[in-house]
């Protein structure tokens, strides 16, 4: 029975590790479905992580941290929107700029304010999102074999941002598929001229998408600093924004498959941590780095069209200019 408990622990850690990916992936999905390429997810999560830790420390409230994280991330989103939508600048260049800006600014400010090498002070008590225990978790664990254990260990016992992140997938899927805004958004990423001739503002839609992208990155960053960890560490996003980008590509820009990809990448990460220095029977020691590199390698192979076909929104990355 011990291996079941081990699996439960790995799955639990997989979920924790996949949350930042999930938020950033949904964020990227919104932006790119509207036709704005965003490689600045990383930077937005980073600035959100910093801002949320600062606010949570100052106010002692994790929720205030979440608000500040979202605000900071949306501000960077608007910078990206200003460059990419209003000034029709290069979206890749703008994304790179945002990543660097966030990487530098968080450390500079953190160091200036707290003088702890860029870290923020440790968050305690209500300044962190506590783990929520879902109803009947203990009872299920006691009375229902296996499933009860999984319910208590894997599903229950996470901070509020985790459940918000999962809700964001549901919401994204619903809004995209079933609402007017979602329909217009899907259309503007494929053929902005069609949206324009239907009498709808291309600029307005794209700014809307970019702001939602900022909100979701804000959630992801806040989770990192105020829920998963107890404060901000320099460069704590560590490439998660780019793995999220990979997940979006992998999912062909669709929400549910993106959830799957994020959980898969989170699981790979959890397994890599678990397997560190462990020799598997028959295989020997698996290099952890091979597992860590897997999402990136898989994305390259997918993009090259060796497995399946990746079809990004047709107008993504292209500023909209009325044709003569």
């Amino acid at each position: 029975m011990e291996w079941i408990a081990t699996i439960a622990v790995i799955l639990d850690s997989a979920i924790r590790l996949s949350i930042p990916l999930l938020c950033a992936a949904m964020a990227g999905l919104w932006s790119e479905r509207a036709g704005v390429v965003d490689i600045g997810l990383e930077g937005k999560m980073l600035i959100a992580a910093f801002a949320s830790a600062v606010a949570a420390f100052a106010t002692g409230s994790a929720w205030a941290g979440l608000g500040a994280g979202i605000l900071a991330s949306v501000l960077l989103s608007l910078v990206h929107g200003f460059a990419a939508i209003t000034w029709r600048g290069n979206q890749i260049v703008s994304g790179v700029a945002i990543n660097m800006l966030a990487a530098g600014l968080t450390v500079v400010l953190g160091n200036a304010w707290y003088a702890q090498g860029g870290r923020t002070p440790t968050l305690e008590g209500g300044a962190r999102f506590g783990d929520l225990t879902l109803p009947f978790a203990a009872a299920m664990r006691e009375h229902v074999p296996v499933l009860g254990l999984f319910y208590d260990e894997v599903i229950s016992g996470h901070g509020a941002p985790v459940y918000l992140a999962f809700a964001s997938v549901l919401l994204t899927a619903f809004v995209l598929k079933r609402t007017r805004f979602g329909l217009r958004l899907r259309a503007v990423g494929e053929n902005p001229a069609a949206v324009d001739t239907a009498g709808i503002s291309v600029t307005g839609l794209r700014y809307g998408a970019v702001i939602i992208c900022g909100v979701l990155c804000g959630l992801g960053g806040t989770y990192l600093a105020v829920s998963q960890s107890a404060g901000f560490l320099p460069h704590m996003t560590a490439g998660k924004g780019f793995i999220a980008l990979a997940a979006v590509i992998f999912a062909n820009w669709r929400p549910w498959p993106a959830l799957g990809a994020c959980l898969l990448f989170g699981l790979l990460d959890a397994i890599a941590i678990r397997l560190q220095g462990v020799a598997l029977p028959g295989i020997g020691q698996v290099p952890v780095q091979a597992i860590q590199a897997l999402p990136y390698v898989m994305t390259v192979i997918l993009l090259a069209g060796f497995i399946g076909k990746s079809t990004p929104p047709k107008a993504s990355g292209v500023p909209y200019v009325k044709e003569r």
Binding site: R180, R186, A193
Partner: protein, 508 residues
């Protein structure tokens, strides 16, 4: 007299220094099918884009159903009851038919009710007009004809009383076009007003009640279809211009140099752009292609120049059959086939480069311009200076950025570059498009001199008078085929206009 559906007066629109519409007035009766004809660039699409709110006119008044309207955006046009079917469909290919139809007219924040209403409306329209379509099909999977049907349904769903169609048959097969015309008649019977923009005279004669002719941004004629004829329309489109005279003596042509047999080209959608096209170019003659733009002339040039793969057919150059490896631009240049492309800014030049750098485009590997891996700027500049002087390029400054030269001087840079390489065959596309009068004369004289020197020249131009003035023989093209051949000495404009409209095809 029934009220006018559309009354435009004094519409003008400039794009920079270019006047796309000059003081255009137009009246269209309600419940009629009204054709607007003109050559490419005559200003038809601009006028309709103004009517649809895609551009705002610099001056002029728009009245819809008798009421003066400010149309500043497509939303205003839709509110005024105008629907438009663009030449390039404004559809989202990844969405379903019903999603495309309700886009912008969803009704409420939730799609559910809007979709339900659209389905009911689609069923009604299917019954009224026979416009049957699967509402859940993905638009990208539909045939071009059905996609156009979605565009029309989109307009009707928004309650359009006026339907504008921009070159609707350009992408349709003949049976699909016939279906479309039946639909337009049905719409008219229901009291809708239809505006049909086209350059195909046959369609005008078949389906319209009245027709307006545009030329060079101006409205030149308003005619009742029943009282006009294709020759009259062709003449109005092309215009009775001051005849261009080019001094040239009759020459005896030499041996065949370039032969093409049975060329065929298809685009990605399988539409035939060139069909079973054969032609022969002899040394010392200019063969002109007459045709309304978009009838396969561009593809013909590109196939012969090695820029486009043909799906079938054989090309012989100097008696030798060209295999695939030979049909690359670099190899063809070595074999003596030079090409002055139709669009100098998009294809013939790198406008961000200096004039001197453009003077060697395509000849960058030539040992005359440097040794080994490197180029010699002084030699390139000297070469540019010599040719610019010989071709009177102004200003004769090889260091100046090419974008800063006028159209005529840019064209001279291209012309000088290709002619100075002593071609055996020269493909020339739109040699004088956007070129001032002085330069036109210069370019024409150069081409004649080249022909007299024994070069075989293929000339493609939308300017019929240019084709007539320069050519020894004229081939008319329509729909990717050659519809007739005339000796330039005996050809007349009416006759060619009919061939260009494909009228010969019916007689044959």
């Amino acid at each position: 007299m029934p009220p006018l559906a559309i009354a435009l007066s004094g519409i003008s629109k400039h794009f920079g220094p270019v006047a796309a519409n000059k003081d255009v007035s137009l009246s269209i009766a309600a419940g009629s099918i009204h054709g607007i004809v003109g050559e490419n660039g005559a200003g038809k699409s601009t006028l309709m884009s103004i009517l649809y709110g895609f551009y705002e006119a610099d001056a002029g008044e728009i009245r819809i159903a008798g009421e003066a309207r400010q149309i500043r955006s497509p939303a205003d046009a839709i509110a005024a009851g105008i629907g438009m079917v663009h030449q390039h469909f404004m559809l989202v290919e990844t969405l379903s038919v019903v999603e495309n139809i309700i886009l912008g007219a969803e009704g409420a924040a939730w799609l559910k009710n809007g979709v339900g209403k659209a389905r009911a409306e689609l069923a009604r329209l299917a019954q009224d007009y026979g416009l049957v379509i699967d509402p859940d099909a993905i638009v990208g999977d539909l045939s071009v004809g059905l996609q156009q049907r979605v565009e029309i349904l989109k307009a009707l769903y928004r309650g359009a009383d006026i339907l504008i169609l921009d070159e609707p048959t350009a992408v349709l097969t003949p049976p699909e076009a016939d279906q479309l015309f039946a639909l337009l008649r049905a719409l008219k019977a229901q009291g809708k007003t239809v505006v049909l923009i086209t350059h195909k005279l046959r369609e005008i004669m078949d389906v319209t009640d009245a027709v307006s002719v545009m030329r060079r941004g101006e409205m030149v004629a308003h005619l009742t279809t029943a009282e006009t004829s294709p020759p009259e329309l062709a003449e109005a489109m092309v215009g009775r211009r001051v005849l261009l005279r080019v001094e040239k003596e009759a020459r005896r042509r030499g041996k065949p140099v370039l032969e093409a047999v049975g060329l065929g080209v298809r685009d990605a959608r399988g539409v035939e752009l060139l069909q079973d096209l054969s032609l022969t170019l002899h040394a010392g003659e200019i063969v002109g292609i007459a045709g309304v733009a978009g009838n396969g002339q561009s593809e013909l040039l590109e196939v012969l120049a090695g820029l486009l793969r043909s799906s079938r057919g054989v090309i012989r150059l100097g008696g030798r059959i060209l295999n695939n490896a030979d049909r690359s631009p670099a190899k063809l240049r070595k074999l003596g086939l030079m090409h002055i492309p139709e669009d100098r800014q998009r294809t013939g030049l790198v406008t961000a480069f200096s004039a001197a750098e453009n003077a060697i485009l395509g000849y960058q590997e030539d040992t005359a311009f440097g040794t080994g891996l490197f180029m010699s700027p002084s030699r390139i500049e000297a070469h540019a200076r010599t040719t610019f002087n010989a071709y009177d390029v102004r200003p004769p400054d090889p260091g100046l950025k090419t974008a800063k030269f006028s159209g005529g001087n840019q064209q001279k840079i291209v012309l000088a570059r290709e002619i100075e390489r002593h071609p055996k065959v020269l493909l020339v596309g739109q040699p004088t498009r956007g070129v001032d009068i002085g330069a036109i004369e210069f370019i024409h004289r150069r081409l004649i001199a080249l022909r007299d020197a024994g070069v075989a020249i293929l000339l493609v131009s939308v300017e019929l008078e240019e084709v007539m003035a320069l050519s020894d023989r004229i081939l008319a093209m329509c729909g990717g085929r050659i519809t007739g051949e005339r000796a330039a000495a005996t050809a007349d404009e009416r006759d060619l206009g009919l061939l260009m409209a494909g009228v010969n095809e019916r007689a044959a």
